[in-house]
Symmetry: C2
Subunit: 339 residues, 2 copies
DNA sequence: CTGAAAGCGCTTACAG
DNA sequence: CTGAAAGCGCTTACAG
């Protein structure tokens, strides 16, 4: 039904191989036949069957992207589309396309990764979920299938990954609070499974330490990173009468929830309590007061992930790349007293 | 390098075709050979090369999804991931995967669609951009390539599409305002190219008409649907001294911008001016006051789009499906005086 | 129930 | 500069 290279060859009175060479822009083909064949290709409305050429070439120019699904709601988090955008735009430059799949739970994710890494479609994988001790990752390493993580894994040497400098930016952010006279600064949203939050927590701890402020355990609130639970976390702190003047939340959603609670309690921001979040979502600038946040440059993370993956696929050297994207504190009214 | 069907056949002492039948779960194969072959497949860690089977089968079980890129920022809009999620989860049930591509501008989008529709990878396409008079759409129709639009097109008969009942939900929303005594209701964000906004505008107009309220042209503000320009739109209205007590914005972002301006001007919401948005983004519930919005059920839109596409690919009948997903008004403090 | 053979549509040494 | 042939890894009538 669809017109093939053979149809074109017949009409053009050449061998199929010649048509193939014209398509591939092979240099040693006479300009006349080239033009003639090209004309006929146009006329016959021929389009290359990429699947067939994949098989012959053993190259698909497709990479797989695995994101989390419904359950964790991460797909709905504003930074995910940004990451995807970064990946696709960089991939496009290299002539690559993205096969996107989402997994609802760990089990599904494991199956997904297992098939994506062996069914011959994807040449490499980008994973957006970096948990502590992920079995899928070990599997990929064993298979020597090229992959890149967005988010530093716990055992980080023999793996390609991109991440922000979570430790140092949180250090800076904490210093920003301390510099304004805050001593009692809460830290919301540490989760022992999610490495980003642990890195941020370390930065927070170190900044306190360097400023001679003792870490107060009851200022540190555990909780799911992407949960909408900032309201409850903050309520819990306030209702327990914990003394504090500053709040650093591991995510804007958490910070926004906290702001909502504080507003309801008639507490002024930033006069009574200063607050900051992470990920610089649109929520941050729209918040009242506007929320200080950390711009993680999600699209740059995505683009860098693709670059690492590209090298992993094409360079035989077998070394591993780690790219650190500097995050940036965006100061807004919520954390600046003189605003 | 990778183990093939022939390797397995050799070890199992059967023909490659037998191995193929075992993999395909072909019924007429003896249980003994089946089990023996399956065992060897496991042992040798054989994985089917899907690309080869694509070629032999003439079926890829992949559909393409085209979204807008950087320029229009739509990819960053919270409903886009929701749509993608709906598509992927439904596709997963049918064993399909999604190849996602983003286009930065109309030209790129045209090229993208042209290659996706003819390179043999995707069996069908879902498009998220429905503009007035899209040349790509005409092209696809001419090629008879299966595709579905998310968002009703202007010439809607011979095309598969899914959409909300934008007219009637906006009618209801406007009635909700009128029911609370509002007569001067502004409408923000009509754009002549974007059909959704036109449909919503019609619903607004009809509700006014049915209530005997005359349409005031200077209460209707044009503007890009996804722009962050609600602040400016509202400022313009206020500075011109336009008399109003209600605002319906075609998108939450626009509504949020308007709220920000109103808050700065010391205008109380909803006491002085009531306001509502569309798309029920997380922003809406986090807003202060919480923003009345319209839940468009983006993931259901996505899922339905896949279902239509699946039929378009597999049913030969050549008829066209139109699915309308009822949107739902979520009443919150911003539009309810007695709250 | 199983095998030999042709075919899916392309690519690429090899020979001339 | 061009063609004939083998091959990429699978599938599927056809024959037995």
């Amino acid at each position: 039904m669809a017109v093939t290279i053979n149809d074109v060859a017949r009409v053009a009175n050449v061998a199929p191989s010649t048509v193939s060479r014209v398509i591939a822009n092979n240099p040693n083909i006479s300009i006349e036949t080239k033009e003639r064949v090209q004309k006929i290709i146009k006329e016959m409305n021929y389009h290359q069957n990429v699947i067939a050429s994949f098989l012959a070439n053993r190259s698909t120019k497709i990479i797989g992207l695995v994101v989390q699904g419904v359950t964790e709601k991460a797909f709905g988090h504003p930074f995910m589309p940004e990451i995807i955008r970064g990946i696709t735009s960089m991939a496009h430059k290299f002539g690559y396309r993205i096969l996107i799949s989402s997994a609802e739970d760990i089990k599904e994710e494991k199956e997904l990764i297992s098939s994506l890494s062996s069914d011959g479609i994807a040449e490499g994988l980008i994973l957006t979920t970096s948990r502590i001790q992920d079995p899928s990752i070990e599997q990929l390493m064993k298979q020597k299938f090229p992959f890149v993580l967005i988010g530093r894994p716990s055992d980080s040497e023999q793996i390609n990954w991109v991440d922000n400098d979570n430790f140092s930016v949180t250090y800076e952010l904490t210093k920003h609070f301390i510099g304004q006279g805050h001593r009692k600064i809460a830290f919301l949203g540490v989760s022992s499974e999610i490495i980003v939050t642990l890195d941020r927590y370390e930065g927070y701890k170190k900044a306190l330490e360097d400023s001679g402020i003792e870490l107060e355990p009851n200022l540190v609130v555990r909780g799911k990173f992407l949960d909408n639970s900032g309201y409850d976390m903050m309520k819990n702190l306030m209702d327990r009468g914990v003394d504090l003047t500053g709040v650093i939340a591991c995510d804007d959603y958490i910070a926004l929830g906290a702001i909502k609670l504080l507003t309801e309690y008639g507490i002024r921001i930033p006069e009574d309590i200063a607050i900051a979040g992470f990920n610089n979502t649109v929520l941050a600038e729209h918040s009242i007061p506007a929320l200080t946040s950390v711009e993680i440059k999600a699209s740059v993370l995505g683009a860098s992930a693709f670059e690492l993956l590209y090298h992993a696929i094409h360079d035989q050297r077998g070394d591993f790349g780690h790219t650190i994207i500097p995050a940036e504190i965006i100061q807004r009214a919520s954390s600046i007293r003189e605003f």
